[in-house]
Symmetry: D2
């Protein structure tokens, strides 16, 4: 059965028809506004109509950044779109002529599911996905099942506390993992290093023009050129990623840890230190098999593919 | 179907016939030696024979403290019994006349399962069990399934790191949760307070006779009498329990957090601060329902009952 | 001998004639611009001329926020005034007809010295001054002598690290004491609490109108009214102040710890928790006398009075 | 004027005649028992009589491990000798025929003073001495004066807290600097690594025979041979030494940081990482001159020489 997957971002939605092997047969995009939730409903209906005109589809999955209800009917809360206890499924269904299955899924869960079904984790039953973006998102699969939690808000891995009294987080707490293992953390650490070790930050400042303008890809570029500070900064991010994953592994014992997000472009400059940090902090090493760290394989389409596939379940 | 549950401790095994409602119909005990693994095999066969003589049983579950193989056939490693990659299931089956199902389960998982099926968590699908003993053990149930992990060693919650550079743990790492939220941590903190705040430790020293002889139940007793230091010590343990549970909840989103182990005798002196610590550290409070902290209900028989029940699955 | 003390702020200078008992006999003010360092020189000369016309003065001390040269001749670096290796003493002397002694002093050192000579610490030989403002400043007196350090930049107490991996500091490092024990920290913690514990932040939000507009005096006011969150916030600041002071005391063994800055208006709501935190963390309690925490006594004139007095030495 | 310096250890005292250039002209030793304080008095009188028979001496300084009274008359408390508020000066003077000056000094202060007057710090006015032994001791010299504190117990640098909730310390607190930067910390970290990274600890285990028997000099030896784990362990100790020194420098602004104790034999394997840790954590780098890290120069005689010299002041 083919299914449509829709990845709903703040300013656009991307949708595609996905077959049972995770192959995208067709796709389309529409621009949206994060404040206009009814407009988002209509945009979803529009892409559905467009795609369902050419393919026979049996279900549609909507990947949304936010807290998704456990029954997959809507969004409890979204940080970047004006959804508050919003019955997204029913609103969309009301605009569609056909009576097909529509489900709402958390976007990180959808992306993780795509890796589990068709990507880097397709050969295991237990995995932890870590998506390093502005924040740190994640997804957990245990014994072949997506861990959704009692109220649908499991896998908020970025808010595991890793340092008591640590960096302030936008969530209001201190020391959240994503304040140490995310693109934002990488940039802030680079900016701090430009203050405390200016003689080592010359290449970064050259690339960025100004300390306030440093962005992640510049750090990756400098590191790939061999710039020692940039290498250190990526290694520090990797170390926190690995050490936090060791804590998550104490709870979950995954076979595989999949790392996604833009910074994965740094490859071994990131994954090497992540593996080292993981190995150094993994409890009971030597008395257990060890999870493997790998890069995500599905790219930016993961959310769309995973949402489509989850709609078939 | 009735099943036998066997709780294998370091120096004795306790076994019982358990019905499908978790009721223990009969039980027995045998003393064992932790170094004599063949003797433990024989003791298990002996209690099986004794109990199966009076009741018709269809399965037997063996609860063992240690890393249990994912296929439930044996023990990879045990800290207190001389099992190393030990095929416990087959050794025991070889000594039993009947051809019944035998499975090996981690003892904390078995106890957690008993709470999930028949005890404090019988009304939810997603729970986190925390057993505060010498260390901090646990069990995770997600969507009605026990989370075992890829290699059977999930739910080692006590080794989630809560303080980088924190207290040394017997596992060789620093800052493990069980070094802050366990009976051992409670006693060590009491001993430290006797050094730094001797004027406040008078009641504890009176009960213990000597700083080296302070034990957990004395702290609970003093706290129940209203001794301010003892109240603070239990509150500190509770706070770490709650704050760590908030981190675990970021990953797992349980509906219920069940606290077991001897120190639960302290009741609200422990659970109150645990709830406060949890609420203060829970991510996205106000945008999600909140897990409830409750005391375990199954007592010391939980391991036996849970192992029996898991053998039926 | 009378001396003139000048307190140089970002937008104005305040100057006074101070006698040997620390009494201000006359004072005056001039507005200045932080970017116009020559204008500041002239303003200092102007207030000197004005005051020296009515009183016989033998020396002048200039209190400046910044790194002051060890020979008291100028400012190495100032965060808020455009001084960079600026020979302030000689520039000012060149504008003054009389040949009197002129010295430059760090403003926190000057204020601390005033407390030591005439204020809260006048009866001891060893003191630690902690000034809780936007940041956390300080001054150290050891055996009756101001501790200036090898290069004049001692007593930057706010940058002692208290949490590895802790809050980012404007200095580029993580976990500086002033990120936990300052007015800025107080406000940020209040804002975070408004996110994580909105039901407890009602009074604060009522006073501030908006979470972004919370300021320190509102927290003090709410705490004085008995608002539990505000009381907790001040207690947390006090705890960090006391715990950090215990670390400083391990190095310095002062007889007295003087707390200054606007937040001292909170009185025991701040000092009580500071004393408790100090006592709980003080090394070797019971084997040593303990320093006493007191509020500063000299108010906003401390910098002026201290600079004048230091000019006489 | 010649002076006698006496270094009082737990089981022996070493004494010498020291000239004004810090040269030891003669020395002697006597065995003692830490429980027999009167016997220690007599042993001191004995070495005095012996040395004063051959040299004209004007004063005697007694270096003692413990809290020394601010008036240098005795010992408030000692961890390893049975002194409790013990008037050591008067007890010793009562046994000596001559009426000479006798003073009691803390042994770490005495050793630091020797480095300041005659050793590695003889060219500066402001220094911080760090003695890495079983614990972490220290001495502070500010503007040419020994910082003793209000009650004689300054410079207990090892008990500055560097990790909230960190390693337990024998003092009853958590996270004391000496739990991260001392010989004991080095050995414990090595033992922990032997558990968590056994494959990397082969050389250490070969040298020690058993994980429980690892001692500091073996780690230094392995590191000098190039063993990666041993190099890392020394670097970690060095890093904590340097980072803590950066905090102390925020308060004290020394020109020189002198590192003493047995582990200094590791040379750059220790000092290199210490300098790096210091530079990375030093506040306001670039706006201030930076203290230099150097190895102590006076060896084991530092306590004796420093005590003698302090007796002349």
């Amino acid at each position: 059965m083919h299914a449509i997957g829709v990845d709903i971002g703040g300013t656009k939605i991307a949708a595609g028809v996905v077959d049972e092997d995770g192959v995208i047969l067709a796709q389309t995009r529409v621009e949206t506004s994060p404040d206009d939730v009814a407009g988002i409903d209509r945009a979803i209906a529009q892409v559905y109509t467009e795609l369902a005109g050419s393919y026979e589809v049996g279900a549609m999955g909507l990947a949304a950044a936010g807290f998704v209800a456990a029954d997959r009917s809507g969004v409890l809360f979204a940080p970047n779109i004006a959804w508050r206890d919003y019955p997204l499924r029913d609103r969309v269904k009301a605009l569609i002529a056909d009576d097909i299955t529509v489900v709402v899924e958390n976007d990180a869960n959808a992306a993780g599911w795509a890796e589990f079904r068709f990507g880097a984790a397709r050969d295991v039953d237990d995995m932890l996905m870590l998506t390093v973006g502005t924040g740190l998102g994640g997804a957990i699969v245990s014994n072949g099942e997506l861990v959704r939690g009692a109220w649908g808000v499991a896998s908020e891995v970025g808010h595991m506390r890793v340092v008591p009294g640590g960096h302030y987080c936008g969530c209001g707490h201190e020391g959240c993992w994503e304040q140490y293992a995310s693109g934002s953390a990488l940039v802030r650490d680079a900016q701090a290093a430009a203050i405390t070790q200016p003689e080592r930050a010359l290449r970064l400042l050259e690339l960025a023009g100004d300390v306030e303008k440093i962005v992640g890809p510049q750090i990756t570029q400098a590191a790939e050129e061999g710039d020692p500070l940039a290498v250190e900064l990526l290694a520090e991010l990797g170390r926190w990623l690995g050490e936090g994953a060791a804590s998550a592994t104490a709870l979950l014992d995954p076979a595989l840890i999949v790392v996604g997000g833009g910074v994965v472009a740094a490859g071994e400059l990131l994954l090497g230190p992540a593996r080292k940090g993981f190995a150094e902090q993994l409890s009971a090493r030597g008395h257990r098999p060890e999870a493997v760290f790998v890069a995500a394989a599905m790219g930016n389409d993961a959310g769309m593919v995973g949402a489509a596939d989850l709609a078939r379940i």
